[in-house]
Each structure stands twice: as structure tokens, then as C-alpha cells.
């Protein structure tokens, strides 16, 4: 005879996916994400945004680059539904969506599209950043979900 175990209260799952190595050039991006801010780098000399964020501007080589809080809004530029692999933490969650998002600021960034059935994702879909906190690390991982559209 088997006995039904009483349900345990749900504990927050430990974060099992790969984490960024926090370096002086990259740490602010991940720490800002914990504050629900999607940060971009913009050059004070040539005034252009770039991605990924660098301390030296890839357009004009100026070191006068500054972190700017981005809108977190964009559109899906391309995507794939991963059915196999993806590494630790991800391989267990297939299918999931890896996507390239074109932000309203004009740069294309890598992330995931979440909060939607993977088969419903479309190129051109309007999305907004969401942030998955990594417990105990003071950082979050930005991902993108469909952005609710206001009715005309």
C-alpha cells in the first residue's frame, strides 16, 4: 500500500543555469537587471548606441561610453525554438525560445522569449524586458515577453 505524501510548500528553485562572470566591464549590466533596468552603452563622443556593452566604443574607439537605461522595448528580429540541448538548466526546459531582439534604441540583442507558447512566437512581435532574479547573486537575467498592445 502506498501513502500519498502531504504536499510540501513550494521552495524557490535554485538557479541552475549558467551565470555571467561579473567583470568591471559587464557587472553594471547584470546588477541593473536586478533593479528591473535594461542597460545599454552609448558613446558620449559619437552619440551612438552599441551592443554588446563595451568600455571602448566600437564605432569611434572613444573611452567615453556611458550606461543608459534603455526602454526595454523591442521587436523579435529572429528566434529559434530549441528542442534539444542548451546546457545546464536549459536542456531540462526544452522547448524554449532563444531570440534576437531589436530594441527600440536600434541595437539587436540576444535573449530568450518567455511568457508565450514557443510556437506562437513570430518575427516582428512586440516585446518588453522581464528580469529573472538570481537568488543571492545580486543580479538578474533579462528576457523578453510579449508586450500587451493598447487597443486603438
Amino acid at each position: 500500500m502506498t501513502t500519498q505524501q502531504p504536499q510540501q510548500p513550494q521552495q524557490p528553485q535554485p538557479y541552475k543555469k549558467p551565470l555571467p562572470v561579473l567583470e568591471p566591464e559587464t557587472r553594471p549590466f547584470w546588477e541593473a537587471a536586478a533593479r528591473r533596468e535594461y542597460m545599454l552603452k552609448r558613446c558620449s563622443s559619437c552619440k551612438q548606441f552599441h551592443y554588446p556593452p563595451q568600455n571602448v566604443c566600437p564605432h569611434c574607439l572613444s573611452s567615453n561610453t556611458v550606461w543608459i537605461r534603455g526602454s526595454g522595448y523591442g521587436k523579435v528580429y529572429s528566434y529559434t525554438i530549441t528542442y534539444q540541448g542548451g546546457g545546464p538548466g536549459y536542456a531540462e526546459e526544452v522547448p524554449f525560445v532563444l531570440g534576437i531582439i531589436e530594441l527600440d534604441e536600434g541595437v539587436r540583442v540576444w535573449s530568450n522569449v518567455v511568457g508565450i507558447d514557443p510556437k506562437e512566437v513570430k518575427v516582428g512581435m512586440v516585446v518588453e524586458a522581464v528580469f529573472e532574479n538570481v537568488a543571492g547573486q545580486g543580479i538578474a537575467i533579462p528576457r523578453f515577453r510579449p508586450r500587451p498592445q493598447k487597443k486603438a
Partner: protein, 385 residues
């Protein structure tokens, strides 16, 4: 002074086994080196340049294993295109008088060591710049190529059936290669009905994972004349890098547009005169965008271009006649095999798979990931200068 026709491929060898659990990487390289020397009619002492890429300390490690002290070494790492780039560098160095005979070697035991080349994801610690687009987001190699396929479909209406045509024609060629891993015929339906690995790329859109390796020996055109085999002259060469373009990347284009332009310009030949295209086929989409960007068709027209049978045996532009990475072998960095098969075809050594009058071929390597950081190398090879 142009490098056109100044150097030639004079010795080749391809490691026959696709599964080699009991050998080291350096053993594969050394055995291929020995056989390529035999093929060329050269000895170890004739070689004064060593090139390799892949792991560890590159050419330095290999020089120890071979017990040689070359005047020229090259461990340039541009991923799977490295060996094609090495050949271009070797031609430049030979013409400049730095060295006389250069051996380019590759070896890999990726299959027997169980390396998940395409789907493995990254480790738990992601460094910059990979940390923004790599393992943190569950990125796989096939997934990055799939981004190009999806966008190409969106912009140009390319279909899974069109991509499948590349896998089908490559399999037909593989049937002519006794060493190819996959030799049974497949149809378009088999490809599009195979398991989805990373949408829109199916299992049969993906290359194999094997062990293997090879060696290519390059020397001056003058020296080549006295050697055992018919020289395969290097008429044109180019190398290029594609990357994220500071956030403006168009993922439907690859660096082949630049390396190909340089190679064709130096060679002074037209695309329509090419008898064989040996193009790195990590995935079907890799071939499609490479054909476009090398100028065989216009951007966006790759789908219809590959769908009329021209890539198959008897077609107008035979592609990957050894069975490619899709059906013959893919130990991780396949560029060297594009030169090996091009050399066999230009020499006229391919038996039932021989392309008639194959006097002009393109060998093109693509390394890294096409929708993101990648390096390409393009050679135009010919039976005459």
C-alpha cells in the same frame, strides 16, 4: 604582385576512420602528415612550415610531436575555416620566401570523446563577450544557425523544403564515398519530417559528429612541377570576419561576401566557370547563405537556386561531392576537407564521382557561428595557372 597561381596544393591525405576512440589528436595529424608527404613525393625534411588549429598550443605542440623545427608556424584560429586561412597564409609566406613547403594539419576525436558540438550549450561560467549571448541564454551552435535560417525565411520566403534540397543532393554525393558515414538515399520529406532540433532546423539539416582529420601540403608552383601528383594551383584567396557589427548585424549575410570577393578578384575567374563548390556545410542554411554571398546567386535567391538539382551528380554546380559534413564527416572544424575533396576532383581522382573537366573549384571554410562571430576563408583552385 599578385599571388595568383604562385603556389599549389601538392599533397593531401584524409583520415579514413570516422570513429577513432584509441588514438590521440596528434596521432591523427601525424599519420595524415606522413601519408600526405607520400602523396606528394616529399619527405619530412622538405617541410619548413607547420600549421594547425584546434586545441592547446597549436602548431607549437604539433612541432614537438613531429620533432620538427620549421621556419614558419601558423596557429590562426578562425574556427572551422582555419585550415583554409592557413593555406592562404602559407601561399603568402612561400611567395615571400619565408618558407618552401608548408604542411597544414587537422585532427579531432570529438565523436569518441562525446563532445556535443552543436547542442551542448556553454559551461556554467560565461565570460565576456560570450556572457551576453552564450550559455546565460541557453545558446547552442545549432540555435545560432537557426536564427539565420528563421530570418532568411522571414525576409526571402525561403522554405524548409529548399534547405532540405541541400541535404538530399549532398547525400547523393555521399553514396559515392566509401568512407562517408551516411550513404543511404534520402528525400526532401525525410529531411522535413526528421526530428526538429532547433526550429527551423531539423536533424537532417545538421552535420554529423565524427572523428577525423587531414593534411594539406602547399609549395611553390615552381617546386610543384617536379612532384609526384598534378599540382592544384591556388589562383585566388581571401579571408574575412563576420561579427555582431556593434548591434546592427544582418544575420542573413556571412563574411563569405568579403573573402569570396577577394578570392575571385585575385583569381580573375567568373562564378559561372566554377565546376565544383566545396562549401562548409555545418548546416543546410550555411550552404544556402554561402552560395548567395560568394556570388553564385543573388541575396535571397538561394532557396530557388538550390532546388533545381544543380548541386546533384550531373548538375551544373556540383556541391560537396565527398558527402560534406552533412553526410560524410564532421569532426568539428571541417574546412580542411573542402580543400581535400577539391584537390581530388581537380586532379581527376574521384572515380565514379569525378566531375568532367574539373579545372576550377572553390574551397570555402566557415568557422564559428554564421549569425554571430565567424571567420571565413575562400580559395579558388585550378589545374592550370
Amino acid at each position: 604582385m599578385s599571388l595568383r597561381g604562385k603556389t599549389a596544393i601538392v599533397g593531401i591525405h584524409e583520415y579514413e576512420s570516422r570513429f577513432a576512440p584509441n588514438v590521440s589528436i596528434n596521432q591523427i595529424k601525424a599519420e595524415c602528415f606522413r601519408e600526405a608527404l607520400e602523396d606528394a613525393g616529399l619527405t619530412k625534411d622538405d617541410v619548413d612550415g607547420i600549421c594547425t588549429a584546434g586545441e592547446g598550443f597549436g602548431a607549437v605542440d604539433l612541432c614537438e610531436y613531429l620533432n620538427v623545427h620549421p621556419h614558419y608556424v601558423d596557429s590562426t584560429q578562425t574556427g572551422g575555416s582555419s585550415f583554409v586561412v592557413h593555406a592562404a597564409h602559407a601561399a603568402t609566406a612561400i611567395d615571400a620566401g619565408r618558407c618552401n613547403v608548408v604542411a597544414i594539419m587537422y585532427g579531432s576525436t570529438a565523436k569518441s570523446r562525446g563532445v556535443a558540438i552543436g547542442t551542448g550549450g556553454a559551461g556554467l561560467q560565461a565570460e565576456a563577450p560570450e556572457q551576453y549571448e552564450g550559455g546565460v541564454h541557453g545558446t547552442t551552435t545549432v540555435g545560432v544557425y537557426a536564427q539565420t535560417a528563421r530570418r532568411h525565411m522571414e525576409e526571402y520566403g525561403t522554405t524548409s523544403e529548399q534547405l532540405a534540397a541541400i541535404a538530399v543532393s549532398t547525400r547523393k554525393w555521399a553514396a559515392t564515398n566509401p568512407f562517408a558515414v551516411m550513404r543511404d538515399p534520402i528525400a526532401i520529406e525525410d529531411v522535413v519530417n526528421s526530428r526538429m532540433v532547433s526550429d527551423p532546423l531539423h536533424l537532417l539539416d545538421c552535420c554529423l559528429q565524427t572523428d577525423g582529420g587531414g593534411c594539406v601540403i602547399v609549395t611553390s608552383a615552381a617546386r610543384a612541377k617536379d612532384l609526384k601528383k598534378k599540382p592544384v594551383y591556388i589562383l585566388g584567396m581571401g579571408e574575412a570576419v563576420g561579427h555582431w557589427d556593434a548591434g546592427r548585424r544582418d544575420v542573413t549575410t556571412v563574411a563569405a561576401q568579403w573573402s569570396g570577393q577577394d578570392a575571385f578578384k585575385m583569381a580573375g575567374v567568373e562564378r559561372k566557370d566554377i565546376k565544383l563548390a566545396m562549401l562548409y556545410d555545418s548546416f543546410t542554411i550555411t550552404v544556402l547563405v554561402t552560395l548567395e554571398d560568394l556570388g553564385f546567386c543573388k541575396k535571397g535567391e538561394g532557396g530557388p537556386f538550390v532546388s533545381d538539382g544543380k548541386l546533384e551528380p550531373g548538375g551544373k554546380l556540383p556541391l560537396n561531392t565527398d558527402g560534406g559534413g552533412l553526410s560524410s564527416n564532421h569532426p568539428g572544424m571541417r574546412g580542411i576537407f573542402t580543400m581535400l575533396e577539391a584537390t581530388r576532383q581537380v586532379r581527376g581522382e574521384r572515380g565514379e564521382a569525378q566531375i568532367p573537366n574539373c579545372d576550377l573549384a572553390v574551397a570555402h571554410g566557415t568557422g564559428g557561428t554564421i549569425s554571430h562571430r565567424h571567420g571565413t576563408g575562400t580559395l579558388v583552385l585550378s589545374s592550370h595557372t
